[in-house]
């Protein structure tokens, strides 16, 4: 494995963080895009973090509430589910 050994200044690191946090304006987006086009490591880094979040969201379907849990909830609340 080779180290990713070119120096990133603080502004690029800040841009990457803002981009991943979806807090980036159009001008800064252009700046980051330009950097990423010339820096394969940053591209892999940004893409893979984005992909991780995307994958997690894709498997994160709302958990169905187990019937027993629902029954106990209505019982605790003294409500009838099928009123």
């Amino acid at each position: 494995m080779n180290a990713h050994n070119h120096n990133h200044n603080d502004s690029i690191i800040d841009l990457v963080q803002k981009h991943l946090g979806r807090d980036l304006g159009a001008k800064a987006k252009g700046e980051l895009k330009h950097h990423i086009e010339e820096c394969p490591d940053c591209k892999v880094y940004v893409d893979s973090v984005e992909e991780t979040v995307k994958l997690y969201k894709s498997i994160d379907s709302a958990t169905d509430i187990p019937s027993g849990v629902s029954e106990r909830l209505f019982k605790v609340l003294h409500l009838k589910k099928d009123l």
Partner: protein, 198 residues
Amino acid sequence: MVNQLDEKTLIENAVNGDQSAMATLVDSHSARIYSLAIKLLQNEEDAEDVLQETFIIMLKKLNTFSGKSSLYTWLYRIATNLALGKLRSKQIVNPNEDINNLSESSYLGKDIRKWVNPVEKDQDQSIMKSCLEKAISKLPDSYRSVFIMRDVENNSTRQTAEILGLSEANVKVRLMRARLYMRDRLAENMKCVEVITT
């Protein structure tokens, strides 16, 4: 799920003691609240406690609900606060100190691994799901709550900071570390990495 107009009427009726309206409101929101609690607490028993406490509070305090936000947002905040209180009361020692050392700048100086989207590679979805669930369960609570609030529930940095009682800067740092941790665990577990050489 009931629409907002219907929900307003249901809330008015529930406040006036209509049990059918109360039941409909509970039925409409309980799955999402349970799902949120499971994600935050990683424990079914604790999640059920939070679910019940959330709706007990709803029925007691529905007359104080201002209607400025949606009912779900109101319930969401109640459930989140209850879940965080539960986590705090357990005083779990951070099981993963390594995550505190992760930073973006140190990361950009390390080996960078490129990994292929496992879905495109037709890898089993259930294996991927298991890897992700394992990774998120190993995240310390203080990081997992930020990741869930921000990336899964799509709250803004400011909303997340307000709900969790953190500064916005702290939310950003925790989110970044949580994502890096998740990314690395996923790459390790999926064995779908190829090293990019520079």
